[in-house]
């Protein structure tokens, strides 16, 4: 059970966890034992991987290995076990808490293995090397009129990295998280065995590797479920209340009224529920049955309302101007003609992802989040929103539902899916707009802690609980569960070399 703490127990410094650097004992012997594995030791290449997308956690590997095959990774891990050299696996490196940063030892760059191996349009399956970026996979699939089910909205996260952490898209309320679309994996275990696993073959390994933060093996290949590609028609509803927007989102998800749903806000001043459809029939059914039940306003009505509200509050005109400018910059991005045909958005992942990088990306990113059951979600978001207000003048909230697969419940243990969620889990990311503003690392860390403390108090989980936030793992999941996983980890990885700084 989560253990709540008093404020005095939760000092910022006790939560700020940077792993100690592995000192390099036995490194030369390790490298020379690796006959067929090239280890790149020059400083520029090592420095390329010094941080992750978060840009607040820094570490230098002793050497980098570009992944080329399962056999090569097997040789690497066998030697790493023998010489007790840590190996940190990296896909796109889009973690924000240093989970894909190596604090010494080997950095294994999985993007070196990024081929699309085969597409089976009849069985609706694709087999890929796990370092492939979702965007590259989409390029292959679209040539066959296919698409993946769901993937993070950033183009450069890898399949392997995503299966290990979750993967949330605006259609996750329908298809579940990206990790749930994996049908089978090839995994190199921490001791170097190359094993194929799925719900049927080696199911225990499959359970541990999916949503396993790279603790129980390196995913080298993955078979994923795919679907036929369709362009989508988008709609936006605007709200002034977070709670109302969340209630509508959850109603639409429960009733599977739309194919894509999510909330994206500018602070809590402009709350946007986006709804989208794969087909005209789905949209028509929505219009007939659900449109009238959605309490959000259209763009014009909301703008008029906001105008009047700001008119009588001159002390908030700065915010009003910010909202106006943001809208002017952001909206054309979502309506770019080259990505639109017959009023439908093609390449939604490109459109969303480019907007994400352009408007939310930057040299430093902190994106703490809360993942809760449906019932707790509105409260969690409201409390998180209050924290955002205390720490930053400008921020965004991004909320989505994640459909759970009952038969995958064992996969969800000690993951971003909270144990009390049934049917759907909900996630909210709290993203301050840092831009080029300078915030001290302590300020950013205190902000993350304040959000994560809500999770402890509410018995929630987090999408990003590893790396610098791993101090929360025991607090939210409790000692018995964490100790059980630690024992499994020790059994699977005797020298504790694989992604050793991420969770335990």
């Amino acid at each position: 059970m989560p253990r709540s703490q008093s404020t005095s127990e939760r000092s910022t410094s006790s939560q700020q966890t940077n792993p100690s650097r592995w000192q390099g004992a036995g490194w030369p012997a390790f490298v020379s034992s690796l006959k067929d594995v090239a280890v790149i030791e020059d400083a520029p290449m090592r420095g390329t991987f010094a941080t992750d997308a978060g840009g607040t956690s820094y570490g230098m590997p002793h050497g980098v290995v570009i992944a080329r095959s399962a056999a090569q990774i097997s040789a690497l891990l066998k030697a790493a076990q023998a010489h007790r050299v840590p190996v940190t696996v990296r896909g796109g490196g889009l973690t924000t808490e240093g989970e894909s940063v190596a604090f010494g030892g080997v950095l294994l760059d999985m993007t070196g293995m990024s081929k699309c191996l085969f597409i089976d349009p009849q069985k609706l399956e694709v087999r890929v090397e796990a370092g492939i970026f979702w965007a590259s996979l989409a390029e292959h699939l679209r040539r066959q009129g296919m698409d993946y089910l769901s993937a993070p909205l950033n183009l450069t996260s890898s399949v392997g990295g995503t299966l290990g952490v979750g993967g949330i898209d605006v259609n996750s309320a329908r298809f579940g998280c990206s990790a749930d679309q994996a049908l089978a994996l090839q995994v190199v275990t921490p001791t170097g065995e190359i094993v194929e696993c799925s719900d049927e073959a080696n199911p225990e390994l499959f359970r541990r590797v999916i949503l396993g933060y790279g603790q129980f093996g390196v995913i080298t290949e993955a078979t994923l479920r795919i679907r036929r590609y369709t362009p989508i028609r988008m709609r936006y509803y605007y709200y002034a209340s977070l709670r109302t927007a969340i209630e509508d989102l959850q109603m639409l998800d429960r009733e599977q009224a739309a194919d894509y749903t999510g909330i994206l806000t500018m602070m809590d001043a402009a709350i946007n529920l986006l709804v989208a459809f794969d087909s005209g029939e789905r949209e028509a059914a929505f219009d007939a049955k659900w449109h009238s039940r959605v309490r959000g306003m259209g763009e014009a009505a909301f703008s008029a309302r906001a105008f009047l509200s700001y008119l009588v509050r001159p002390w908030r005109w700065g915010e009003a101007l910010f909202l106006r400018d943001r809208k002017r910059q952001l909206f054309p991005e979502f309506r770019r003609p080259e990505h639109t045909r017959d009023g439908k958005m093609e390449d939604r992942s490109v459109v969303f992802s480019r907007a994400v990088w352009k408007f939310w990306g930057g040299r430093q990113m902190v994106i703490p989040d809360l993942a809760t059951s449906s019932a707790k979600f509105a409260e969690a978001v409201e409390r998180g929103n209050a924290v955002c207000k205390r720490f930053f003048p400008r921020y965004t909230l991004y909320c989505v539902g994640i459909r759970l697969r009952e038969e995958h419940r064992p996969h969800y243990e000690m993951s971003c899916i909270p144990p009390d969620a049934a049917g759907w889990a909900y996630g909210c990311e709290f993203e301050p707009m840092i831009g080029d503003g300078t915030w001290s690392r302590d300020h950013l860390q205190s902000f993350k802690n304040a959000i994560y403390d809500i999770g402890v108090e509410m018995g929630a989980s987090y999408y990003r609980f590893g790396g610098m936030m791993k101090g929360y793992v025991r607090r939210v999941f409790g000692d018995p569960l964490v100790d059980r996983h630690l024992a499994m980890k020790r059994a699977a990885d005797p020298a504790m070399i694989l992604n050793r700084d991420v969770i335990f």
Binding site: G47, T48, T51, A53, I66, T111, G131, H339, R363
Partner: protein
Amino acid sequence: MEFSSCHGCSLCLLSCPVWRQTRDVRLTPHGRAKALQNGASAADLQASIASCTLCGACEPACPEEIPLIDMILELRRQQPIQVARGDVPSEKEISVGNVLLAGEVLRQDPERLKRIASLLDIAVAADDGSDISRAIECGAALSSERLSSFMGSFRNAKRLVVADGLLLRKLREWLPEARVVSLGEALSTLEAVRARLRATDLYVIEPRAFHADHARLVRHYDALIKARNLKTNLDLQRLAVPTGASSAAKRVDPLDQARWILDGRAFERVVVEDAADCAVFARVTDRQVLHLGDL
């Protein structure tokens, strides 16, 4: 150089032909920028610098808007790559009105060049600056006399149509007042040419000029695609997949790129903007391969 702005998002990798063929981040803008941030010199980056085809696909992809082509050209000036020198034209002639700078490959095909000139109703410049383009591409020193004699030859020209996408980028920089358009854009704007494009064509956009002016040209080609219902070599980000055939860098295999462009696409003809692509596609498909000017 603005390499310090790179925050390692990897978006520049997605359309990079060198990345596609090597999966080695060191040979990408991301790898170069990070290496420079970590104290590498141009000499340390020799292999990376030599690998780039200058297709320009990385530049519009970069959310930090780092001038990635200028960055690689600057690195090449510090660490030149070796290639055969282009000929320096001996005759000097002053061009007025509309002028076509045909470039090396087109110049070698006088029939096609004549056809294109007549379609565009344009004079062909005797000095098309291909030696200058090669020098820029390889990082070789440019003599100021040669440059001023080249520029002087069309000082009074009204409109320059340039086949070489790299030279076009530089001419825009050197002659901000002049109307400089790519051969692909000029031809694909002609109604007579557009009308001959078919829905079963696979249209291959010349990447260097396209990416150099991406925000504007993506709309031009989008309109063309919609009007003629074409398939193209644009990827999902609306960046042009290059063959690299016109490049002095030899790391990228143009045949492999061409196969990737054709992969999974149904077409009856391949129509290319870059004359150098004709030979490449002819080797990987038995369908008809045409230059846009041959239509």
